[in-house]
Symmetry: D2
């Protein structure tokens, strides 16, 4: 259940209303939009009579039941698009970003060469795996903590904010300087990990699991938000089907559906979905046209010798060529790209571990 407050209500009035609600045993999320503040109730709201709440609380414009199991993530609770701040780079609400870089960080030379090149081509965030989930225990697992250091060296060198995957919560202390924490497809329902990243003040890039429904993806985002972190980016990266020409089937319907049901930004990873390099460009174009807020594209200085996922990686020249095309398309969609910076604070920077969540959690876009 949400209550949309009238414009211009004071913080004191909001606090009083929230205290009233919480005194009846509900947890609340408060979402501060540019016009309206919305108070979202979690708990069994069956007994609440919306009309009587509206009539007895002057500051409430209207109330609405949220029947979906996801509440904080729900667009009803936050009608405007959320903007995620990825190390100073805004994602969502018409601002488009391209995250590029190799599947795994392999060496300082490699990651810095790739970072410089993708930045020159227009990428606005750098990706690179340090901890790699691999099907086989005998495969290359990434450089681990050293990989994170090399990634941060590339960040220092180029100024690009960095995105990298965490595989378990004990690694989180190593992610202090990382701008966006990725939760991979195989961890989409690692609920303890979701809770822990929910207690970080860090943007989280949450990938859809290989066989998870969109509702499950939204529920996993709800795990993160329910701990107080509203900086969540959803990522479609392909699902398992019977088709064999591609590794996974990219589900582009996910983008408009997720944006209809939720206020969170949605990006697309065509590289992992397709598993073959030749599909990356057409799927990236389609992702822009279908309304995504960004792309994540695997790019490598030498795909043929990549330690993982070479088959799906663009080389640096291919990426630069593709970016020229994509920039025209982003402009065609009327979206901003690449030249904005979020003023002031840098939520993607150092993070505070939140104390065990208080009853009332505040989300905003600032």
């Amino acid at each position: 259940m949400v209550f949309v407050l009238k414009p211009g209500v004071s913080q004191r009035e909001i606090d009083r209303f929230v205290a009233l609600i919480e005194s009846r045993g509900f947890k609340t999320f408060i979402s501060i939009g540019t016009e309206h503040t919305v108070v979202c109730l979690i708990g069994n709201t069956a007994a609440i009579d919306i009309d009587s709440v509206v009539q007895t609380n002057d500051i409430v414009e209207y109330g609405k039941r949220v029947t979906e199991p996801y509440k904080a993530v729900n667009r009803t609770a936050h009608p405007e698009d959320t903007i995620v701040n990825g190390g100073g780079v805004p994602i969502g609400a018409g601002m488009f970003q391209v995250i590029a870089g190799p599947c795994s960080v392999e060496s300082e030379e490699q990651i810095i060469e790739v970072a410089r090149s993708v930045k020159a081509a227009g990428a606005t965030l750098l990706r690179g795996g340090a901890f790699k989930p691999r099907t086989s225990p005998y495969a290359f697992m990434g450089l681990g903590a050293d990989g994170l250091k090399l990634l941060l060296a590339a960040k220092k060198e180029t100024g690009l904010p960095v995105v990298t995957e965490v595989m378990n919560q004990t690694q989180l202390p190593l992610f202090e300087e990382i701008d966006v924490i990725q939760v991979g497809a195989r961890n989409m329902q690692n609920f303890d990990l979701l809770r822990e990243v929910g207690r970080c003040r860090k943007p989280v890039l949450l990938k859809r699991g290989l066989a998870n429904t969109l509702e499950e993806l939204l529920m996993s985002a709800e795990y993160i938000m329910s701990e107080g972190n509203s900086q969540v980016i959803l990522c479609e990266r392909g699902i398992r089907t019977f088709e064999t020409y591609t590794r996974n089937t990219l589900d582009l319907s996910a983008v408009p559906l997720l944006k209809q049901k939720s206020h969170l930004p949605v990006i697309v990873d065509p590289s992992h979905a397709a598993g073959i390099q030749v599909l990356v460009a057409p799927l990236a174009r389609a992702a822009i046209a279908v309304g995504s807020d960004g792309l994540m594209i695997e790019t490598h200085n030498d795909p043929a010798r990549a330690l993982c996922d070479g088959a799906q990686s663009l080389n640096l020249v291919q990426f630069a060529g593709l970016m020229d095309d994509l920039k025209r398309r982003i402009a065609f969609e009327g979206k901003q790209f690449g030249d904005q910076v979020i003023q002031g604070g840098n939520p993607g920077g150092r993070f505070l571990r939140l104390p065990k969540i208080a009853k009332s959690v505040i989300f905003n876009n600032g």
Copy 2:
């Protein structure tokens, strides 16, 4: 195995070469491109030494094994894009078409109203179901032969070529005046039907089955082509997955993959894939961006009262609004749309039933 002939060889020389090949027990397909003629051999070619064929036949430029099980459909056999002539409207090779109309023809007023409106909005072909495959024997099955007549009345009224589905081969005589015969998803592997439409001189719009791989779709197109009909349009319309928010999952990777592996045009039906109207526009945009050669969009004068599939149909105003957007996008992709007409013959018009296929079949784009 294909043999690409040198430019400028005479018909007599081609005939002699084909006779030689066929005397060794192979069936041949001959594809006539703007520069090269390609002779494609069907049969167990393991014993053929390509080099000796090239060396002993002056007119052969080079030969190549085709390892894929689809031969005539293969781009190797016909490197240029095939243009399908849909009742005078060209589809493929940079020419984009929009097929619109209701799920089923319900009455003369309805189909003419829809036809006029979608034509005014820019649609270039009219769809409308007369024979409807329905899961339940108690559901509305379409108007049958009467529906075909109403569809032809709308064609006469508007000049739009018409596309409609055949459900079994005994119905084919009724399709004499229909421009494009649709083989539906549930009939994609109705091999006897494929063979019969392969013996018509009619374009065939072949929809991917709900759980068929792209290779199986290409093999079904091969059935049609192997009977002598090269006028095949492939259509992606969504596949079955575990996702529940959409009826099916539209697989847009199919478009670039099919166009890489085959020379046939590929169109997209976002309406049936999604099953909900709100996804039609974004998926149509994505289909254009991913490289499709056309769209098939369900449009109804009164979706709320449609006898089938109302939930996924655009109304006439929505369709017109969408078309304005799509035309800009088709132009952005550098494709031609809507104002070309194929001069001369009208392959989509009356048809001859081919005699049982001769050994040698000739395909061209004329």
Copy 3:
């Protein structure tokens, strides 16, 4: 909606009640059980008040709404198990049958050798494909009408009733002497074919489509029954999933579910599901344990040289060995096997094509 009549009502009383119902615009199915006769109404029954029907018609014991979209197939409409008469061999209601034979009939020697051998091992029906649906137009398609003749020769030789697949309705006249007509997985939603076999007085073995839900399978059986043919055997043969070690994933949950929701017998084809011979025996054992009414097992005299599906075929020795095991298991389940014959008429023999269906259709188990 169904009305269960009191025991011992006369035919005249039933006719009068049915006439009353039909006068209100409904189509009826009448199912005659050993104790009760059930009258099943098709049409929009929303306006019918069950209580008033019961109170004003002495012969009605009680009425019940059928919310499922399948009506005649529904167990509510026919609480007892239906027994299908496969050429004198009863299937269902505790009577278990094993159908064996090759994927395709290849020659007289082959089919007679296989028929003799599987009969000696205990098989009670013979299968063999004459019309083969093949993904490739260049693959072996079966011997066609000649294959049917060879199959009938094997029937004559051994006395085994025969099961074989029809691919389209124009072939049906050739099936006059065939005991059970198979509708294959790819034709499960070939609705025109379903209707035609529904108008035959022949048992139909209906295979589940590769990506069809159980409800869709029941609806396809409803197509057949709605035309007046209640002799339908449902067959689970595996569905498409992402798993690659098997060709399809055998869904054994289908057996108890179908038997709960419907009165029709359910058999299992482990050969096509698995696609590999080594899984046939364990899956056949599981199928018996899960409650199936029969098995269909591909058996060939020389699998390594089979013209199709050799990889999944048992050889004759393997089949005989498996049968020894299966017989013990069928007995363990308390089912009868192999030694019953239906006295009198032979519904699997010559068939009458029914006239276009009258309003009232009568089903029974006799």
Copy 4:
């Protein structure tokens, strides 16, 4: 690559051979069977000439390449069935076990009542969730550490060894007294967790992920074994498909396939697969017939009031009735059930955390 040693070789000879292999840079697993010892090499073995190894090492009977990516898990590396010791109860190699209990431990009374009842009915291990992975952050998550204590109280009361799920590696210290650690479907590819349980001296029950292939399941087992823990039980629990009548589709082909490819025991969980109680009995019967080594059946004292998964739980009377049936079937299959105890040590008891794995790891069945 594996080398099978001659019977009767001494430990000294084995050590010398292993040292030789490891000096060439390979990691080795040593599997001690009742007749043969097998040395399994991990690493790039392309350069090894098997013949020359056999000829120059007297103790080697023969060598064989293992082309599958799973090595220690491979039946080639350990031709005999592995017996897992679940707190004194042997699983595998013809010894069948039934694990029963509620989805979650809810109170001391509940778990003890269930434990006593399922023990009386014949269950040989007790399950009960303390840490519950739930799709929604607002759902009941289990009693956590308190749940483990109650489970251990039930173990003390009844003597039944206990199985319960770990959700992340930081919880492992709490599992000291637990007999079998379950890794749930959603964690099947939580590779860091797999590695950690691989370093415990505890049996691990590894459930197949909802959309994971059998090869991926084997690779996840390989993660555990590669850390030195060979006590792994594989569990099939249903996969995601398009079917809607069941929660998941139980893939019983998995059982014979996994047992063919691997030496590990395989059990089946029909409760989670089906999601509805009525399917549990038939699927349990099928699981026995298909060759599984055990069953995991959700059982609750009051399913209608269960805090989770009540719809799929049997009540205590249903479970007892089912067990009578299952015992007859286990006997029919020639398997031992329920009355054996592993003498001596209790690997399921207290555990040592292994030091970071040494090069050579020894597996045996003792």
